[in-house]
């Protein structure tokens, strides 16, 4: 037990929390931006998966990591465009559309991977690149803090930049205001002569771009290849994180970090011969408990 506690307070542990949280942070922001516009984008899961593969392909064929990133973001946007087309244009139910697209992403990635490499499981046949880790000049030399915060992937830092941008964006920009209004009272902005659908479309496309970054992190930083179904529910966890944060970027970020911490903890517990199945089960179970706890609290407050 003491050993476990000492691990939790180690710099390595915090480092791994940040690393493991990165894809969840991207996913959470992707969920958040569309949810604030009034669209529950449960297809973030599939969008990330699709972008993860496309990023690998883009970097392999484009010859450098940045084309890979660009392709990942664009494919995230494309995928969200499909959601938007069906939900906003053809008026499908957003949840069912999300489920359909998640299933599609799962099959489509294998389909494409097989056509390109002849393999249905991993992308080792593609010479893909990884996003570099960077050490931050002054920060790295600070003891402990440097170990925790320096040396992460470029995308990890970008995740926090994205959070900051979204926070400001929602508050200070015109589109951000429209997005908040669209989620809160769609009729109000409709009568203001702003098309709710266009606002939601834009929110979904932004959501797709962010999910694309999250997917790129999975296949180009977290590990250095694509494997089938590699997103493994992180998009769904993001739904929970965003729900717990009530759509507030900062609170949702904290929730996402909590899941990252649970993930890191379960990885560490494995070292102590704790059954690996149960440690991997833990973050999901904690999510359910936390979600229920917050829902119960919100319900109680509403009653008051």
């Amino acid at each position: 037990m003491e050993q476990i506690v000492s691990i939790i307070f180690s710099a390595d542990f915090i480092f791994s929390v940040i690393r493991l949280s990165t894809p969840i942070l991207f996913a959470t922001m992707a969920v958040l931006i569309s949810d604030r516009a009034g669209v529950t984008n449960i297809a973030v899961e599939g969008t990330m998966l699709f972008a993860a593969l496309m990023g690998v392909i883009g970097s392999a064929y484009g010859g450098n990591v940045w084309t890979g990133l660009l392709v990942a973001v664009l494919s995230g946007i494309l995928f969200s465009g499909i959601i938007a087309f069906f939900h906003l244009k053809l008026e499908t139910d957003i949840v069912l559309t999300g489920i359909a697209l998640n299933l599609m992403a799962s099959g489509l990635t294998i389909f494409i991977l097989y056509l390109l490499t002849g393999d249905k499981g991993v992308s080792t046949g593609l010479n893909s690149k990884t996003v570099p880790n960077i050490h931050i000049p002054v920060l790295r030399s600070i003891p402990v803090l440097g170990e925790m915060l320096s040396g992460h992937s470029v995308l990890t830092y970008l995740a926090f930049v994205v959070i900051a941008i979204i926070t400001v964006f929602l508050k200070k920009t015109r589109l951000g205001t429209y997005i908040r209004a669209a989620g809160e009272n769609a009729e109000a902005i409709d009568t203001a002569g702003i098309s709710v659908k266009v606002v939601r479309l834009k929110a979904l496309l932004i959501s797709g771009a962010i999910a694309g970054l999250g997917g790129a992190f999975m296949s180009m930083s977290y590990v250095s290849m694509f494997t089938k179904d590699m997103v493994a529910g992180r998009g769904f966890i993001a739904l929970a994180a965003e729900a717990m944060g009530h759509g507030n970027p900062i609170l949702s970020t904290l929730s996402a970090l909590f899941f990252g911490a649970a993930d890191a903890l379960s990885n560490n517990l494995q070292l102590f011969n704790f059954p690996s199945e149960l440690t991997r089960l833990m973050p999901y179970a904690l999510t359910i408990i936390a979600l229920t706890f917050y829902a119960a609290r919100a319900k109680k407050q509403l009653k008051k």
Binding site: T40, F86, E91, T92, I110, P275, L278, A285, F293, A298
Partner: protein, 353 residues
Amino acid sequence: MKKNNLIFNMATTALAIVISMMIAFAIIFLVSEDPARAIESFLLGPLQSKRLIGSIFTTAIPIAFTGIAVSIMFQASMFNMGAEGSFFLGALAAAGAATSFNLPGILGIIIPILVGGLTGAIICSIPAFLKIKWGANELVSSLMLNYVTFYLGLYILNNFIRDKNFGALASHPLAQNNKLPRIVQGTSLHAGIYVVILLIVLSYLLIFKTSIGMKIRMLGQNPEFARYSGIKVGGVVIFSQLIGGMIAGIGGSVEIMGMYGRFQWTSLPGYGWDGIILAILARNKPQFVPLAALFLSYLRVGASAMASNAEVPKELITVIQSIMIMLVTANALLKSFKQKMVVKEALTNGTNS
């Protein structure tokens, strides 16, 4: 007017199928070196042999189970994704019951199925309970729950029912009297089909012919109306999810006992998601599930045939079925057509007031 609605729904479904098949053909043309052969084996492959025809039915069985399960859960307007976990853990529980106890004769079939059903029922009722009691979003909690059941299942498999002498991670083998008998020589079709037919009939009766079914539908359509009418909403919601979970759990048990010698799934098999596809195609009506299940399994067997004959990956089918269900749920697809129908009727009947 009811007829109009039915026609409208059928037309939408037909159009969705046509459009998605066109997309399928387009993709085949793009990726295949011999598109004619690919399309031929896709469309006609399933009819090539008795074995393949049999496999249309055996493929349809598990998805029909989850299809009815999800239909019932969706009737109550609960976006419960737990059928996946119920199916998985139900199958595991059935295998566990079958291999742990020496059950004589017919009990060797009945008890594992019941254990599987009960397990499934518990799983799917958890998100419902959390929703009713504390307001937790069932969509998110059931998604998380699927992972919990998956890892829990692996843990149980590894530590309690694993056959250590077997090369891979798997349970002890099922005894002969734990297996559902084959019913047509030369095919894999097993007695599970009787179970699924029975459950379809019972589900239909439950939803459309009993007062509890009526209550499920009422609260699915308008919970406030249900409450006003004197229905105990919480109880009915949980009941509907229990039944749905139970059917999914039975489905898992039947699949293991009909198709496999032991439990050896090491990833979630995805039948819960298939159930959602079927529920959408069948518009949550259990009586339409078998048709939708056979249709989907025909496509899948066809896709497999295409994969072996023409090198087009069978995952094409997941793309196609996703497009199909999105189009089926597309209200706007034939909206102007519907509107015209209504206006025409209004003008002729003149029902203004």
